[in-house]
């Protein structure tokens, strides 16, 4: 049996991939939630905005692929014994495996300040969290969001759609600090403000205030209190590595796996948010928290389990929907890069930024109304993938067709220099 622990993006796509690749042996997926696999990204967007939506969309690309995959819901795997190659479930079952995939994902990093146990303080990770938060939203409700990252800002947009008064509190000096350069972060802050969100950066929450056992406000380090009917905390996630640690696997901010997703135990693999995978392009371990990479890692881990693997070298890509704004980013960040700005938000193609380091595009991100920004970010993703040499001045030229450049790069050898058009 191939056992897959976790029925999220990585786990379920691994199960489907095993079937798509022709594997006919037994596959069993263990999901801790009661719900069948679903599209988690919808929880902070469509699911919060639309009270009528019963379930987020199912996570199944081809129903025929799920046939014959054992799916155990509400099933917690409590331990792994790598020596006997068995797992134990909370229901008391002992099951043997030939290969095991850890796809346990990540959980919300808790904010531990006085009052953090109060009712009305929400985190957002699964359907139950989303249902509870959704019930808090409504016209005039004062929602304070702690954390100006992707989740916090998506919730801010959704809460505004539901008529809430929204305040975002971010400790760092800019929003979405890990994803976008300061200039775009500043533009995004203005865009949120223009849509009625109070954005406060460089401000630390130090305590939750209570009224009748329920959160009533957030005290900032200045002593100021921001009144709240409910609070949402989105301050990052931590990988769920407890099973791996207890099984004696190598773990360091995620289960350490090689570029074929194999852990320190050759029969155990890991993929998705829980895995820190050796990236063949970057030549270092990286842990990603985005949905598309999780799916793709699951797929490639499945291939690896049946001997069809290739070294992992995908470039991370993500999107975010905030109000009517569509944001995309790709690459490993803008650190130490020269930043090229292209376009503006008045155009359909949107406002984008490219990060160039050592003559190569290393990061891209941008925002548009509608999906216009995809044209730039996707083209940049191809340039990043191929490590193409680029001319920074050419990238600054508004007349440069990035997609044409990317097509030419993709058609040529990866390391070949590509000059101006």
């Amino acid at each position: 049996m191939i056992a897959i622990i976790g029925a999220g993006a990585a786990g379920w796509s691994a199960a489907e991939a095993l079937r798509a690749l022709g594997y006919t042996g037994k596959v069993c997926v263990f999901g801790a939630e009661p719900a069948a696999p679903y599209e988690r990204p919808a929880l902070s967007k469509a699911f919060l905005r639309d009270r009528e939506l019963q379930q987020p969309p199912p996570l199944a690309t081809d129903p025929s692929l799920g046939v014959g995959v054992g799916l155990e819901l509400n099933a917690t795997v409590v331990s792994i014994d790598p020596r006997s190659r068995t797992i134990a479930t909370s229901a008391g079952a002992q099951l043997g495996y030939e290969r095991l995939l850890l796809a346990t994902g990540a959980e919300c990093r808790p904010l531990r300040i006085p009052g953090s146990e109060l009712a009305g303080i929400h985190y957002l990770r699964d359907i139950r969290d989303a249902r509870e938060l959704r019930a808090e939203l409504g016209p005039g409700r004062r929602i304070v969001i702690i954390g100006g990252g992707v989740i916090g800002l998506e919730v801010a947009g959704s809460a505004r759609v539901r008529g809430c008064e929204v305040t975002v509190i971010e400790v760092a000096s800019q929003l979405m600090g890990r994803v976008v350069p300061p200039e775009l972060a500043s533009a995004l802050a203005d865009l949120h403000r223009a849509r009625g969100v109070t954005v406060r950066t460089a401000t630390r929450p130090v305590a939750f205030d209570a009224a009748a056992q329920r959160v009533a406000g957030v005290t900032l380090e200045s002593g100021e209190v921001v009144a709240a009917d409910a609070v949402v905390v989105g301050v990052g996630v931590v990988p769920r590595t407890e099973l791996a640690v207890n099984a004696g696997l190598a773990v360091d901010d995620g289960v350490l796996v090689d570029d074929r997703f194999t852990s320190s135990d050759e029969h155990i693999l890991a993929a998705g948010d829980v895995a820190r995978v050796f990236h063949a392009g970057e030549q270092r371990h990286v842990r990603m928290e985005q949905w598309r990479p999780a799916q793709e890692q699951g797929r490639q881990a499945a291939a690896s389990m049946i001997g069809l693997s290739k070294a992992y070298r995908d470039i991370p890509w993500m999107w975010s929907d905030q109000h009517e704004l569509h944001i995309q980013a790709s690459g490993f960040g803008f650190e130490d890069s020269e930043i090229v700005r292209r376009g503006d938000l008045q155009q359909r193609a949107g406002l984008g930024y490219l990060g160039v380091r050592g003559g190569r595009v290393v990061a891209a991100c941008g925002v548009s109304v509608g999906t216009g920004i995809a044209r730039m970010v996707r083209a940049a993703q191809t340039l990043i993938e191929h490590g193409a040499q680029v001319d920074v001045d050419a990238l600054r030229d508004p007349g440069l067709d990035l997609r044409r450049l990317a097509r030419r790069v993709a058609a040529s050898r990866p390391e070949e220099a590509v000059g101006a058009p």
Partner: protein, 108 residues
């Protein structure tokens, strides 16, 4: 429905796509090394204009979530796409691309 002219053949680059509107339907017209193809212009997964997406060989990748479809028959080729894309017959005559919507239903 008869053949409808939708674009000049030379206004689409190879490995590219344009969006056209026919009878209030949004369509994509693709040009790949295998010829010209046409499909519905909106992704079957979530509302997104596919013409903002990238054409790679005979694959169109949705700009919103990077789901993939084969432009020749609409088959899904990558998650999160799960429902095939509706495709239409195409012919090129006198440098003009024509699409036959057949008895396709009303705009979705």
């Amino acid at each position: 429905m008869p053949w409808v002219p939708v674009a000049r053949a030379d206004e689409i680059e190879e490995e590219d796509v344009i969006e056209v509107e026919v009878e209030r339907r949004v369509l994509c017209v693709y040009r790949t090394k295998d010829g010209y193809f046409a499909s519905d212009g909106i992704c079957t997964h979530e509302h997104a204009h596919l013409a903002d997406g990238l054409v790679m060989g005979n694959i169109i990748e949705c700009p919103k979530h990077q789901g993939r479809f084969d432009v020749r028959d609409g088959a899904t080729k990558g998650p999160p796409a799960s429902t095939p894309l509706c495709t239409y017959p195409v012919k090129v005559e006198d440098g003009t691309v024509h699409v036959d919507l057949g008895d396709a239903g009303p705009e979705r």
